[in-house]
Symmetry: C2
């Protein structure tokens, strides 16, 4: 529990303790062996956990305020992909040393995002060790409204929120794989360090979208998760995948690599029936997030047919792409 370490207490438990420990609803936060939490009446808790490791998910020199933001953002993104309303989170982390300025900035980034979504810190653990951040996040969702990966239907459109590839482009700039001018580099870096979880869009898509997930490992690999769980195929028009003006200034080959196999986008990829096109566009407008239609879902054609993505160019001609998802364990 957070009380093990007074400096961390100061930055974390204090803000967490804004919730009274014996609120009328029976919830209990920091300071006991467990927190007590319940979903809204008739709903279930949506739960996801993500671990961020220095050198794998962020560089050692990342702005700690941005790291605080990203640590929670990638977890809120999982709630968004489920259509769940954020409710609470736990934070466990190991730190090589307790640097006050670093902790102040990290906690500022974390709580600024948490408070924006009404998501309260209810428990945690801190220890010494190589820098490692593990958040478990809790949202509330009516089970029948949850946006699951296994719910895609033949004929569904495939949609993407926002724009893909900027985060991967930023990683490439930092690694020296390619160059960009200062303004574009700043755009890419912001996408990499400060992803915006599409929580409002996920909520707006309840009852409209069929299947959904958030893009963390690249469109090619992540869309396949929907296809595998739903036992479907997809046709995707590569040039319809939305990308920023900054990304369009890199070569077409880099654009494709970043948008299709980039990773760290934290945009939603979802399917919805063609009859819901106006509703999807209205949901996007309502929450101020652009939504783009990039392809369609189709049934498997025979017993030996397997879930897969058929890539097409703007003229509808097939493209053969060799793309690898973003595998934190092998590459980076």
């Amino acid at each position: 529990m957070l009380s093990e370490f007074s400096l961390i207490d100061r930055f974390f438990a204090r803000r967490a303790a804004a919730r009274p420990s014996d609120a009328a609803d029976g919830t209990l936060g920091i300071g006991d062996d467990c927190a007590l939490l319940a979903p809204r009446a008739g709903e279930m808790l949506a739960i996801s956990t993500d671990m961020l490791v220095e050198g794998r998910h962020f560089f050692a020199d990342i702005d700690p305020e941005a790291l605080g933001h990203k640590t929670l953002a990638v977890n809120l993104s999982d709630l968004a992909a489920m259509g769940a309303r954020p409710q609470a989170f736990t934070l466990a982390f190991s730190l090589p040393n307790a640097d006050e300025a670093w902790l102040a900035a990290f906690s500022e980034g974390l709580f600024a995002l948490a408070e924006r979504y009404g998501c309260e810190l209810i428990g945690g653990d801190t220890t010494g060790g190589p820098l490692n951040l593990c958040v478990t996040v809790f949202g509330s969702v009516p089970p029948q409204a949850a946006l699951r990966r296994d719910a895609a239907q033949p004929g569904d459109d495939i949609w993407i929120s926002g724009m893909l590839g900027d985060a991967r482009a930023g990683l490439g700039v930092q690694r020296g794989e390619w160059c960009a001018d200062a303004s574009d580099a700043a755009t890419f870096r912001r996408a990499l360090e400060r992803p915006e979880p599409r929580v409002a869009l996920g909520l707006a898509l309840r009852g409209i979208a069929h299947a959904a997930l958030d893009l963390s490992d690249g469109l090619a690999g992540d869309l396949l998760h929907i296809l595998e769980r739903s036992r479907m195929r997809a046709t995707v028009e590569v040039d319809a995948v939305p990308r920023s003006a900054a990304l369009r200034r890199l070569t077409p080959e880099i654009q494709r690599r970043c948008t299709l196999a980039g990773g760290d986008d934290y945009e939603l990829c979802f399917t919805a029936p063609a009859t819901a096109r106006a509703a999807v566009e209205a949901a996007g407008r309502e929450v101020g997030v652009p939504v783009s239609r990039i392809g369609t879902i189709s049934a498997l054609q025979a017993a030996h047919d397997r879930p897969a993505i058929d890539w097409r160019d703007a003229a509808g001609a097939p493209l053969t792409l060799t793309l690898q998802g973003f595998d934190h364990f092998h590459a980076d």
Copy 2:
């Protein structure tokens, strides 16, 4: 999510997937952006998270099967201390490399304990990096029956389950701080590596105990958490603190250090009214765990009085002890 890494998939997702992903109760496990979970009707989820780091919480040469056990055990211990019934857990971990034999043994230790308590793996995350294990555990408890830290009352007895100090004695043997014969060393090592969470006792104490916590950082520091949250004092008879025959073969000074400031005990410390003595003893017998009465709770005596522990010898004479809790960040 676990599917990022096929070897890990094999050892973890497969056993987790024993739960159907669309069970009749609406729960959803591994394979989507979030798991869906609800407490039992009328109850709340008790949630706790613990992070274990190599070199801090275990030695690099620990038997991986024991490590799998301990990783979940320390979390189940938090549920036990709340009187909550285990339900599910998530596991996030970083590993420097994917050694098949290590993963097989680790997952065996983890699932053997999980299955014993009907506690299902519902989600996770895996990544490369220095060895770090983070579990978040979920139990179900009626909120009014939860064993909270702030519920101690004047006149309550203070009780301890099992025996204290063996784990710390085992750490001392491994560090060369003191010696023990092979049989005692094995007793100590087992206590250190394979703590048994007192889940059944926690459930049996619902409606009997007032306040409770689990001892992870040593009695002196942990009991103080109850006192601070309850605004009480305690008197503890040092020689009444239960210890093993093996520990009694070490010097009285080492015994005291291990039992009072040892850490890693994962026994329950709880308070109950004196009228409940027979009920507490019956609860202990019912679940086969010895319980020992070691002291009493008293009210603060004046406005400036602060929560504290008064240590006494067997004759009731005051003892002045300088004890430090087990602080993972500074020592060990």
